[in-house]
Symmetry: C2
Subunit: 306 residues, 2 copies
C-alpha cells in the first residue's frame, strides 16, 4: 500500500456527442451523477476513453466547467489535461486546478518518440513549475501502446523526489501487471491505479490503490465491491464473482474497437443516442457489430441478475 | 511526374529559442532569409524538426505571423498546422490560409493508434470542410515511426478524389523509397516529397516532386543542385557529388539524437546560441557530443571546399 492515501474506483468516462458532434453536456452530467451513484469515487474525464485528444482546448475546458455547474463536486474530478506542448498543458492544468479538481492525469509529451527520461522529467517539471499552485496533484499516465512514450520507475522516483505530495500516483494502462508490481515495489509513495479492469483484484492484492478504467462506465458497482471487500476473507466469493462479471463485460468491450463499443453499450444503458457518436479518427460500429454487441449485452445483463 | 506542378526544395526549418526558451523570432527570420538565398524554394516551418508539437497553439500562430512580418513571402511558407483534434487543427489551418501560405502540412490525428482509413478520411475531410477556403492546399504528412499513424495510398486516392486541387501532395518521411514509389504509381496527382535527404536523387529519378527535409537546414545549396540538374546528363557528376555531400551531412545529423544535433550544427552555421536550445522532451547534446559534432562539421566544411 502506498504511503499516500490516494485510491479508489475512478471511471475513465466517455464523452457523449450531440448530432453535430458537440459534447452533450446534459448527457455527460447525467452519466457522471449515475457513475457516482453506482459506486465510483470519482470521474477521470477527458482521458483516452473520453476522446480528449479529439477535443479542442476550449472544448476540454468547457466540458469540465459544465459538469461542475451540473453539480458534480470538483473534488471528485480528475481530468486529463496533457497536450503535446508544455504551454498548452499548463493552460489546461491551471484551469483545472483553479476549478478545484482532485488531481489531473498527465500523459507525457507524446509526439516525439525515443526520448530520454531526462527529457520527460524536464517536461513534467516545466509543467508543474509553471502551474505554480500548491493544490496541484498529478497522476502520471502510462499507456505506451497508445502514447508511444513509457514512464519508467526511475522517472516516477525522480519526479516524486522533486515534487513530493504533488506527483501522487500513476494510471498504468499498459495491461502489464508485472510493471505495476515493479512500480509498487520501487516507488512506495506512488499510488498505482489499474487502467485495465481485469487487473483490479490482482493489483489490489499486490498493493495497488484502485482503478481508472473504461469498463467502469458500465461495471462501476462491481468494481466498488472488489475495492471495498477484496481484503475481507468473509467476502471472498462475492469479490471473486464481482471480478468475474467485470471481466465478462470488459471482454465484450473488446469485441470490436473498444471506444465505439463502450459507447454503443452506454447508449443502451443510458437510453441516449448521444453515446453512440464518436469523433474521427474513430468511427461508429457497423449495424451488424452493434446488433451483436447489444445481443451479448442483454445476455450479460440477464446473467448478472441470475 | 505528378500532374500538379507542386515541387521543389523545402526546408523543414528548426526553431531557435531565446534563453527563456521562447521562440527567437529574429534568429528564425534571419535563418529563413538565408535558406532562400541558399536555394530553398520555401520553408516548411513548424514541423517535426521545428518542434511544433512542443509549442503552444498561440506560439505556433505567432511564429508564422512574425516571419511574414520579417519579410518572408507567405507564398514561400508551408507550416505544419495539425494538432490531435480537428477543432484546433482547423483553427491553426485557417489562420495559416488567411496569412496566405502556399500550403499546410497536415499530420493525421496522431494520438489514437490502429485507426481505420475511414476514420482518417473523416478527420481530414472535417478539417478541410470546416476551413472552407478555396485557397487551402494540403500536403499530407506520412511519418509513421513518430506519428504512429500511416497514410496509405488508398487514403491519398480517396482524399484527392474528394478534394481535387486541395490535397496536392505528401511529405513521406518514412525513409521507405518503395513506399514513395508506390504512391507515385498509384496516386499520379500527388506530389511526393522526400522527408529524408539521402532519397532526394533516387526519388526525383522515380518521379518524385522534391523534398521537405531537416538536413536542408544545412545543405540547401546542394539540394538545389540535385533538384535543378538531376535530369541533365551533362551535369551527372555534379549532381552525384552534391548528393554525396548531402548524405555525408545527413549522416552527421544522425550521430546523436537528430534534432539537437541539427540545432548544434545550426548554432555554428548561423553564429547564434539560440539554435542550440531545445524544448523538452528533447535535451541538448552533452559537451562531449557537441565537441565531436563540431569537429566533424569542420571536416565536412573543409571537404566541401576542397
Amino acid at each position: 500500500m502506498t504511503t499516500n492515501d490516494f485510491g479508489g474506483v475512478y471511471c475513465a468516462a466517455a464523452t457523449p456527442f450531440t448530432q453535430d458532434r458537440s459534447p452533450d453536456h446534459a448527457a455527460f452530467a447525467q452519466h457522471c451523477h449515475a457513475l457516482i451513484e453506482e459506486g465510483c469515487d470519482g470521474i477521470a474525464l477527458l482521458g483516452t476513453t473520453g476522446e480528449a485528444n479529439s477535443l479542442g482546448l476550449k472544448e476540454r475546458q468547457e466540458l469540465l466547467e459544465r459538469v461542475i455547474e451540473a453539480g458534480i463536486a470538483p473534488s471528485r474530478l480528475m481530468p486529463g489535461t496533457a497536450q503535446t506542448s508544455v504551454a498548452d498543458t499548463v493552460a489546461l492544468t491551471r484551469h483545472a486546478v483553479e476549478a478545484g479538481v482532485k488531481a489531473v492525469v498527465l500523459l507525457p509529451p507524446f509526439y516525439y518518440k525515443c526520448v530520454s527520461d531526462e527529457g520527460l522529467f524536464r517536461a513534467y517539471a516545466d509543467i508543474i513549475d509553471q502551474v505554480t499552485d500548491d493544490r496541484l496533484r498529478v497522476i502520471l499516465y502510462h499507456i505506451p501502446q497508445i502514447s508511444g512514450v513509457a514512464i519508467s520507475q526511475a522517472l516516477i522516483t525522480r519526479l516524486q523526489a522533486a515534487y513530493p505530495g504533488i506527483v501522487i500516483g500513476i494510471k498504468d494502462s499498459s495491461g502489464d501487471l508485472d510493471n505495476m508490481r515493479r512500480t509498487i515495489a520501487e516507488c512506495p509513495d506512488c499510488a498505482v491505479m489499474a487502467g485495465a479492469d481485469p487487473l483490479m483484484l490482482p493489483l489490489l492484492q499486490s498493493g495497488g490503490a484502485g482503478c481508472i478504467t473504461a469498463s467502469s462506465n458500465l461495471v462501476a458497482a462491481d468494481l466498488r465491491i472488489v475495492f471495498d471487500k477484496w481484503n475481507d476473507p468473509t467476502h471472498q466469493a462475492e469479490v471473486e464473482s464481482a471480478q468475474a462479471r467485470i471481466n465478462a463485460w470488459r471482454e465484450l468491450t473488446n469485441a470490436y474497437v473498444q471506444l465505439p463499443t463502450v459507447k454503443t453499450m452506454l447508449a443502451r444503458r443510458r437510453g441516449l443516442d448521444s453515446w453512440t457518436r464518436v469523433r474521427p479518427p474513430f468511427i461508429e460500429l457497423s449495424d451488424e457489430e452493434r446488433a451483436s454487441v447489444l445481443t451479448r449485452m442483454e445476455q450479460l445483463e440477464h446473467e448478472d441478475k441470475a
